[in-house]
Every structure is written in structure tokens, then in C-alpha cells.
Amino acid sequence: MVNLEEIKKEAKKILEEGKVKYIIGYAKSSNALMAAPTFVKKPEDIDKLIWDPTCFQNLVKFLIDEKRKKAREKEPDTRPIGIFVKGCDSRAINVLLQEKFITREDVYIMGLSCEDVGVLDKKKIFKKLKGEKPEKIEFDQRKNIVISTKEKTIKIPLKEILAERCLECTSSFPVISDVFWGDRNNRSPKEPFKCLEQIESLSQEEKWDFWQQQLSKCIRCYACRSVCPMCYCDECVVDSINLAITADTTAEEKAQKIKWIEKSPESSENFGYHLVRAMHLAGRCIDCSECERVCPVDIPIRFLNKKLEKVTKELFDYKAGLDPEQPSLVSSFKDEDPEDFIR
């Protein structure tokens, strides 16, 4: 069992020793159902830290900010960043290591096992609460969640409100860490890609109708890419501006920047964006599902990523984020890669 006090003790120790620059962890937010990222710089602030199934966020995203900030500083503090990492988050760290975006020395990984739980799905709870504001939540034996609103207190089995990806998670503990709390029990859901069956069983036209309906909702707030730890480019290929401008970017380079998609939230452009996004995450997505969680219009984005995860596994026996040393999916091949689709 993960013991929060032990985590705090370690946090305090490494902060006092100056071993880390700061610690990225979770704290309570104004919303009882969702923790907020917190950045603990001083040992006296460690009491803010929490660890429970409301700790949704994949904090690895903030390592990108840190890297950018460091690049701007003249004499950067090169100490590692302490970071709370769940099983899925740790795979994100591995991908960043694999793609040489960070080095192992940049992070002090504080691994937390989700054990037999995981994180909540806010939307599922929302459905159960029918709009009432939760005032307080408690966890009962890691089996149930007890939610109190103004009017009532309800007890819901955790299984009913855990995030889908947690129910389908295969390794709920970090695969890479410097310190670790909790157990390393592997879960093995019988059918890891069962969630895709429903869409896959649709006819071509039904599939189209489904995605057309879902993707036409997109308002292109880009929260899915903003939250994704794999989306660390200074400038996204689908943006038509030239953000990564340096002093020697020529006018011509800026002028030639391709508009792969238009800014208009039209169906074609939304598809363009989401297809490129999915492609660029093939072999990189570690299924933290943050993209889907943050989507304000409830697009089931995870089903796009998950599909490619499945294809990648089945066709190429490739799984993202398990080994920082393996070559990337698209920068490697095997002689026996399937080609039955090729004429």
C-alpha cells in the first residue's frame, strides 16, 4: 500500500538535501473530484501533497515546460526535477528518454503504483451525481468512493467510476523510477483492446457516421495536444504559423510554412488535425488518456490512439514506453512486417 506519509518523508528529505530543484506532485483543487498539479519548492510545503484516485494528470507534461525554461536561462539549475509518476506516466518518461527529449539525470522519478485502483473518470461520476456539486470525497478501503454533496452522501464502488484506461491497464506500476511506493502486481485484463470492438464491428458507413459526429464537435482548443506529454514540439506541424522562429529563420521559411489544415473548425480540418495527431502518436502513445479526459466536448480521442496501439502491437509487436533503448516504431522495421495489404 502506498503510504502518503512515506512519500512526504521522501519529498521532504530530497528537498532539504537539495537533491531536486522542485517536486511536481498533486494537491487538492477547488474541485473535490480532481487534484491539481502542484510544484513544491520548499520542504515546509510538502503537506500540500496528496495521493489518491483523483490524481489524474500526467505530470510528465510539465517536464517539457521545465526543459524550455532551462534552455532560456543563462546559468540554469541543472538539478533533477522530482516528479510523481503513475504507471502510464512512467511510460511517457520512457518515450521522452527514447526520443532524447530528456535525459535520465533530468528527473528524479517518484514512482507510485496505482495498485488495484487507478484514477477516477470525472465524467462517470458527473453522470452519477446528476449535476450536484461534491463537497467532500472519501475513499473506503480502496473499494468504494463516498461522495458527499449538500443533499446527500452516496457510496459508489470504485470499479464503476474508474477511468476506462485504468480498467484496461496492463501495468499499473511505474516501469522506471528512482523511488517507488506500492506493489508491482501486473494486471492482465483478458482483452486489452476490447474497448475497440464496438467501433470495429461497425460498417464502414457507420464508422464514418460515428467519427464524423464526434470530430465535428471539435472546437480546436487543442487541449488534447496541450496536455499530451508526447506533444513536445515547439511548433506543431499542423499549425500554419511559424512559432519556432529564431533570429535566423528567413522570411521565406516563414512564408513557406505549410498550412496542412485550416484554422476553421470544419469537418475536413478537424479530421485532418485528429488524423495527424493520431499518426504522430503511433508507437508513442502510452495510453494515459489525458487527451480524452481534457476534451471539453467529449470526443473519444482515446479510441483513435488505442486503435493504433492495437495495430502497432498486432502488426509489429511493438509497445510504446517500455524500453527507452528500443528504436521508435516508425524509424525501424522488420523484414517480416506484414505486406498483405500491398498489391
Binding site: 506541424v237 519556432a244 535566423d248 505549410i258 521508435s328
Partner: protein, 649 residues
Amino acid sequence: MKKRTGVFVCHCGINIAGTVDVKNVAEELMKHSNVAHSEDYVYMCSDPGQKLIENSIKEHSLDSVVIACCSPNLHETTFRNCAKAAGINEFQCEIANIREQCSWVHKDKLKATEKAKKITHSTVERVVKNKSLEPISIPVTRRGLVIGGGIAGIQAALDMANSGYEVVLVEKSPSIGGHMIQLSETFPTLDCSQCILTPKMVEVSKHPKIKLLTYSEVQEITGYVGNFKAKILKKPTYVDPTKCTLCDECIDVCPIVVPNEFDLGLTGRKAIYIPFPQAIPATFTLDIANCPGLLPIACGKCMDVCEPEAINYDMKPEIIEEEIGSIVLATGYDLYDKENMKEYGYGKYADVLDGLQFERLLSASGPTMGEVLRPSDHKVPKEVVFIQCVGSRDPELHCAYCSKICCMYTAKHAMLYKHHVPDGQAYIFYIDIRSGGKDYEEFVQRAKEEDGLVYLRGKVSKIFEENGKITVWGADTLAGKDIEINADMVVLATAMRPAKGAEEFAKKLKISLDKDGFLSEAHPKLKPVESVTSGLFFAGAAQAPKDIPEAVAQASGAASKAIIILSQDQLFHSPMVAKVSLNLCTGCGMCVDVCPYDSLSLKDNKAEVNEVLCEGCGTCSATCLRAAIEVKNITPVQIYEMIDASVGG
């Protein structure tokens, strides 16, 4: 400035104009805001046609041109030269293929014209964004490297050295000579292999331009055409060749006996040895793998007896670095492994020999001094069965290819056997006889007719030893019956395989291999000695099974190709190479992984292109998630515009 493009639509007589309304194509493109001039002409590639283009370029101050005509494979160079003559950069000229890919394959004039417009429009979009480029010049180190000291390597090294270039010849064994020096007599002329090869070996050793490194292995080759760097490991022989007098005293005292490679295990040798009497360099080698130890306490007998004090146990491996302009690879072949041919008793029965072993038996310098005696009991074999295609031409179980030389050497073997044992009987199992080559067919006929060899068409199913005889079960498919021969000796014409370690070596050099593991040439017909990596050439059996004359011819071919590079002050490379946008690159290294030419590397967390190595394939560009790398003049933005034009948007 806005590009001023000229569009020239060729009629190609009626080849294009018969199906495509060329005037209409020219008119349509004139609507393009970058097209400053467009016209059509009956034969653009003719002298007047080219003159017309030149004049138009000058008259309309064009800075780029699109020629809508036949395939770029035919006249791209013509028109680029023409553009150059008119004063514009050759890379500002592109070809729109409206003949092979349009007029010749369609009938409907209206639709073909529409398609021709799209193709031409798309090419205009490309050229509008083309940059003027200059070929990349590369300095040349005028020095060659030959890897492998068999007949092919020797020939290549001599040809290059005799043309006046310094050559480094690297051989992994203690002597040059390769397999040819093991042979007895050579088909079809039956001249003595050693007699014809040793003079060449001596020439190599004496040649002032050749630096011979035996008992050495190339460990690494970096760099690129004209500028390779080779790292060569020279293994210690523990004998100083300048002091060694070849007195043989050390051999006499050495207590260790191991199978002799030169005789393919038919004889033994000591741990300190000279591979064969005519070895070049003529010196002893202490075989450290078999020597009981270098410490004098362990043995040290050889050192004790060596009067000239040539033996030095403290000799260390040496890394030699050489700068090289071009390389000839002649790593040769080995025979198909015994392990693979157990059904023929190969490796199990002493009297089942392979072709090379039999060569040694026939050789005057061999274990039997040229007498044919069977290894088991040193008796003269009276019945010998020769089996062809052992391991070759057997796609299911062994090698799919034909080893090419076996028909000939088996005929030679049987013939020489008969010369040695006139009352002996030679049977040859064969699938069919391949005797293409100068005087080859005559040779085989002579063997059949004059020496009374028995050729049996069919395969051998089983070989087993019984009562001191080797029983061969086979089939004569012509006679349609099963055959059993109780032979004294069986000689297998085993398949030729690429030399051991060649695969690993090729991987190190990033040379691709064919499915059989032989070196893969750049083009099977037109570039048979070139590799895809420029500056690297192939000679001999490393590329495919070859006989001596072929190996020699190819070696001379490879040498002349290598000399072409060495003879130039500088080389030129296509400037259509990858270019990195440093501000977009995050240094993930995926492009480095996919580059087939090792032209990309990471420097300060950014990808860096070695333009000389880059062949412009663009795989890096499609792999990069950040669009941070592209190939000049076929950039994503050009493709983007071309797609627009091609859908007719």
C-alpha cells in the same frame, strides 16, 4: 522576386500531340501567375527546339523552365544542359512527363489533355519553389584499399598499383593467395594453379605502391567516397618477419599439432607454422589460439630454439588507420558448411571429401604429394563417386542458386583422377551440365569421351559406410533405374557460400547483401561491380560464385572503377540532399535511425546532414514528426502544391 517560369510543351511529332492538345496545355499554363512564357514546339529535344528554349529564356528573362515532354530519364540532362547554356541554374529545369505517363497510355484526347495540364501544372508548382543548387564537391584521397587477398584482391591491388596509385591490401589470414593457391590444376587449360598465382603474389609483396597487411582485419570504415577512413586491426604473429630465416627449427620443437587449414584438415600443422611454402609474406605465425601460452613457463620451446631471436611473445595487436579514396571488396567465399550436409556423410566419413580437399589430394604440394590416396587408409581409390550440386540449386533445404563452377571442376577432378588412376572408375551424379565459358564445353566433352567418365543424371539419396566401402544410393533418371555404387571415395561439389564473417563485415560497412548473403551490387546489369555506397566496389566470389577468369575480370573492372575515383582531384555529388531546420529539430534521432547511408548524426542535440553521404531519398523527411528535415527541391511544400495541382484545384 516572383519566379518567371517558362513552359515548353513538346509535340514529340504526333507522339504527344496526337493525343494531347499541346496548344491548349501551353495556353492553360499561361494563366499561372508565375508563368511568364509558354509555348509548344514539334520537337523540343531537337537542335532548333533547344535553341528555341534558350532564346525564350533570354528573351523573357526566365529564371526557371518546365519542359512538358517525354520521361525525365530520356531528356532531363539534355534540357538541363540547355537551361544551363542559357544562363540559368540546371536545377531550375524540371520535366513534366506527358508522353510515357500520359499521351502514350491514353486515347481520349480531351481527358489526356486535362491530365497533361495537371501534370504540367504540378511540375510548374514544383519548379516555382526550386532553389538553384550547385553540385557538392568532394576532395579525394588518392589511395585505394583492397579487402581480401585472394586472386580477385591480388588482381585489383596490382591493377590499381600499376596505374600509379598507392594501395593498401588487407588479408585476414597469414598469407595472401586465397583459395586459388590451394588448387591443383585449373580448368579448362589444366595449368598449375600455384605456378600461375605465385608470381602475382610475389609481385604484390615487392610492389612499391602496395602496402600489404596480412593477418589483419578491417574493423571499421567511416567517411565517404574519396574520403574513407579505415581502421585495421593487425593481429600479432609473434614472429618478426625481418628476423625470421625460415629455418623451421621452431616447428620441430613445437609440441602442439592442429589440423592444417591449408590442407583442409587432411594434414596437421604446429601451433607455430607457415601456411604453405610459398606463403607471402614468407614468415612464420604463432597461432595464439592453439599455443599453450605465451608465458615462457608454459612452453616457450620455440623461443628457446630461435637463433635469430625472431620470436617475440610481447607483440601486441596494432590498430592501423588508413585514409582511403576508394575501396575494393574481395572477401571471397567458403564452402557450404559440413554441418549442413550430414546426409552425405560429409564430415562423418573420412573418405567423403569436398572439392577443395580433393584439390589438395591432386596437388603436387599436397598431403599425398599429388598421389590420389584415400584419407582413411592411404589406398588408391578404385571407384570414386563425384556428386554435383551439393547444397546448390536446392531452394527447399539449402541454397537456391547455382554455384556455377562445380560442373567444371568436377569434370576436372574426375579427369585428373583418371590421369592418376587410369584403371579407376569415376561416376558423376549431376542434374545437368553447365559449361558456359570459353572452351568449357569442349573440356567437358573431352573428359567424357577421352577419359571415359560415367555421367549419371540424377540425385544421390543416401551415402553410408559399409565394410570399408562407401555405398552410394542414387538414381539414374535417364535410364530410369536406381543405382547403388560401392565406392572407395566420394567427392562432393559443395556449394559456394559468402566467406564466413562477411555478413557481419557488410553490416559494419552498411553494404546490403542479397538474400543469399552475397554482396548486393548497385545494378545487376549496368553496375555489376558497384555497391550502392559510392566509392565501394566488389570483386570476386564475394558478390556471387565465380570461376578464376571471371573473378580476375571483375577485379580488373572494380579496380578501374576505383581508379576513376582516385584519378580525380575532386568528385561531385548531387546537391539534392537533406537539409535540417535546426529550429524545429528536437534531436529525437529518428532520422538518424532510418538513414540508409549513415549520412545523419546528432550534434548538439540536433540532426546534422553529411551532404556527401546523403543520396536524397527523403525517408528522413517522412519519418520526422516535426517536419524539421526535407530534401532540397522536393520539399513537403513542393509536394503540397503539386497535390493541389494534381487534383486540379
